[in-house]
């Protein structure tokens, strides 16, 4: 244990000298010592508060309840998920992003930022070389092992794990605090909440008489929707998908909400038996039309098949409001005249 402490001290000094190659090498030895991550963070705090001339630090708690030590003033951040990138731009801190992933294509400026790999395969060396104050990771798409690797390299990792609209909004508020841009984030959050409120008010309790609704929907006032993620093989959304809540807000219900796993491959027999009233396609290259099994479903017969941009419905970011508005208007057109 003593060797580990000594090594850590050496490592810390070297890090401040920006000697990255050595850091990586030493941290390998450090990893071999098997020090628990939490202790690492605490030590970090002790040192920064006891020494003068060091950047002022603060401790924040992320979505997984981890205590993360970051500089009070963030100037260099890396995002490892497109949803996080969109959120950071939304709170007006996009100019402080020094790295993002190849999937980060929105807003336009995000494309010009240095790529550190894709969401599943970020390049460790590139990340270290960019000297980030903090790396943002999405719990929805990131590998846990990668988070711990970054932790062990002494890089602060903040995990965002939103699955509902209100959690996305909470994340935007958090980002405002982290980047010190509360003014912008509060304004953005206010706008998003207004738009959500408007949808809820417009939909109200859904009126019953509509020939296109099944008996069940006439009772509960919801459209039974099948969300098709890809046509062949047939993938859909299941129990764990964040879209379930969004659909509920849009006056709809996923017919596969009880199927386990977030993105299950569904039996075509089951799919045929579901008889959805509407189908939402993710509009990716392999998802341009409903699967054959739906050819006799009410959705296809009544022409209630809609495409929503795959990026928007697969990212728990600020554009979820766009998806909500679009779905609500598609499914309840008479309400939005």
């Amino acid at each position: 244990m003593m060797e580990c402490r000594a090594l850590f001290f050496v490592r810390k000094i070297i890090r401040q000298l920006n000697r990255f190659a050595l850091v990586t090498f030493l941290s390998l030895i450090f990893v071999a010592c098997g020090r628990p991550v939490a202790e690492n963070v605490n030590l970090n705090v002790d040192r920064s508060s006891s020494r003068s001339g060091v950047v002022p630090m603060r401790i924040i708690t992320d979505d997984l309840g981890r205590r993360v030590t970051i500089p009070t003033k963030i100037t260099r951040a890396i995002s490892l998920a497109p949803s996080v990138t969109e959120s950071i731009f939304a709170v007006g801190a996009g100019d402080r992003l020094v790295g993002d992933t190849t999937y980060c294509n929105y807003p336009e400026e995000a494309k010009a930022i240095q790529k550190v790999g894709d969401t599943l395969n970020p390049n460790m060396e590139t990340i270290v070389a960019l000297r980030p104050d903090v790396v943002f990771v999405s719990g929805a798409s990131q590998l846990e092992t990668f988070t711990s690797t970054l932790d062990k390299n002494g890089i602060a990792v903040y995990v965002m794990n939103p699955s509902r609209l209100d959690e996305v909004i909470h994340n935007l508020e958090q980002l405002g605090i982290i980047f010190g841009s509360e003014d912008t984030s509060q304004k953005v959050v206010g706008e998003l909440q207004d738009r959500e409120m408007k949808i809820t008010e417009t939909l109200g309790t859904y009126p019953v008489p509509d020939e296109q609704l099944s008996d069940y929907d006439k009772r509960v006032g919801q459209v039974r929707v099948f969300v098709q993620i890809s046509k062949e093989p047939l993938f859909t959304i299941g129990k764990g998908a964040f879209l379930n809540d969004l659909l509920r807000s849009a006056g709809a219900r996923s017919v596969t909400a009880n199927v386990s796993s977030a993105f299950p491959k569904l039996s075509k027999e089951t799919a045929l038996a579901l008889q959805p009233d509407a189908i939402i396609l993710s509009d990716s290259p392999d998802d341009q039309e409903p699967n054959e099994v739906f050819k006799d479903s009410p959705a296809v017969k009544n022409g209630r098949v809609y495409k929503i941009n795959a990026d928007i419905i697969s990212r728990p970011g600020p554009r979820l409001i766009d998806a909500l508005e679009e779905i609500a208007k598609d499914l309840h057109p008479e309400k939005f005249k």
């Binding site: 596969t256 386990s260 039996s267 290259p285």
Partner: protein, 313 residues
């Protein structure tokens, strides 16, 4: 041997009925609603029949190649035939995204090209030895695997999602044309293999002896390789990589019926059909309404059975 053949045929009939009776959705076989009819006739039965044709094709191809190469490990996967077909499919995916009929064609071409390459590599001035052939097969297989991996890492994720699933062995993407194609390939391929069974028997004693008996060794090789490429190409195009069928099934059949290829080849086809129908049944119902890739099931059953057989002998 007649009793064993009848037993396998009976087994296939029983398995076909079980496969038609069970699935993710419950169906009463006496009174069908319109919807249940669609489930049974449009989805379940085509898939069960496809499983049968794929199983028969792969097992027969395995039996034929094992006899030809006098190597119990010979299998479409080991000899590069399957990976050739897989690469052909992948090229069809990448180059002609929306032309579906080209996929089986490209798979067949891939299987044939891989077979020819392996065959040519195995040839030497002193003639072709079985060792060289198996070695070339292994090298071509690993090379093709890396090309496939390279493609999957370079190409767009959404474009290749269906391909990656298909690569694991997946019978859910059954189309009617795929079923007919596999039927034709299975019938033609198995008849050709069966017609060479006598010659293969003689070649198993030794190729020199076979020559003395008047067997045209070169012609037999060509026909067996060609038939295997056809069988494997069609199966891979329709269902991806369903592994271990061509390896395990002929072995079990030989244990029960001896190594006369006139019975091993047709019996392997019958047993292979039953095996894949059952494996796909598990894939369909185990975690319904979700599905498992059938290739994982055949490997999960096949690998332990194979180890058991190895230890017994």
């Amino acid at each position: 041997m007649l009793w064993f053949g009848s037993l396998l045929a009976l087994l296939l009939v029983v398995v076909l009925i079980i496969g038609a009776m069970f699935g993710a959705e419950r169906i009463s076989l006496t009174e069908l609603s319109v919807q249940q009819q669609a489930i049974l006739f449009d989805i379940r039965l085509p898939r069960v029949f496809l499983a049968a044709f794929v199983g028969a094709s792969l097992a027969a191809a395995g039996a034929g190649l094992q006899a030809l190469l006098r190597n119990p490990l010979a299998e479409p996967y080991l000899l590069g035939v399957s990976n050739g077909a897989a690469l052909g499919m992948m090229l069809a995916f990448v180059l002609f995204e929306n032309v579906e009929f080209l996929r089986p064609v490209m798979a067949f071409i891939g299987a044939v090209v891989a077979t020819i390459v392996v065959y040519q590599m195995a040839k030497s001035r002193t003639g072709m030895t079985v060792e060289r052939l198996v070695l070339s097969g292994v090298i071509v297989t690993t090379f093709l695997s890396s090309v496939i991996v390279l493609f999957t890492s370079l190409l767009d994720a959404a474009k290749l999602r269906s391909f990656t699933f298909w690569l694991l062995g997946d019978l859910s993407q059954t189309t009617r044309s795929g079923v007919y194609l596999c039927l034709v390939a299975a019938v033609v391929g198995i008849i050709v293999l069966g017609s060479q069974a006598r010659a293969l028997n003689l070649m198993m004693i030794g190729e020199r002896d076979a020559l003395d008996f008047g067997v045209e060794v070169g012609r037999v090789r060509l026909l067996v390789f060609g038939a295997s490429a056809l069988l494997v190409g069609a199966s891979v195009a329709a269902s991806g990589s369903v592994g271990y069928v061509g390896l395990v099934v002929p072995h079990i059949v030989r244990l029960a019926s001896g190594s006369d290829n006139r019975s091993v080849i047709p019996f392997s086809a019958l047993a292979g059909a039953s095996f894949v129908i059952l494996a796909d049944l598990i894939a369909r119902v185990a975690i319904a309404p979700r599905e498992l890739p059938v290739g994982a099931i055949t490997a999960l059953i096949g690998a332990p059975v194979f180890i058991f057989l190895l230890r017994r002998n």
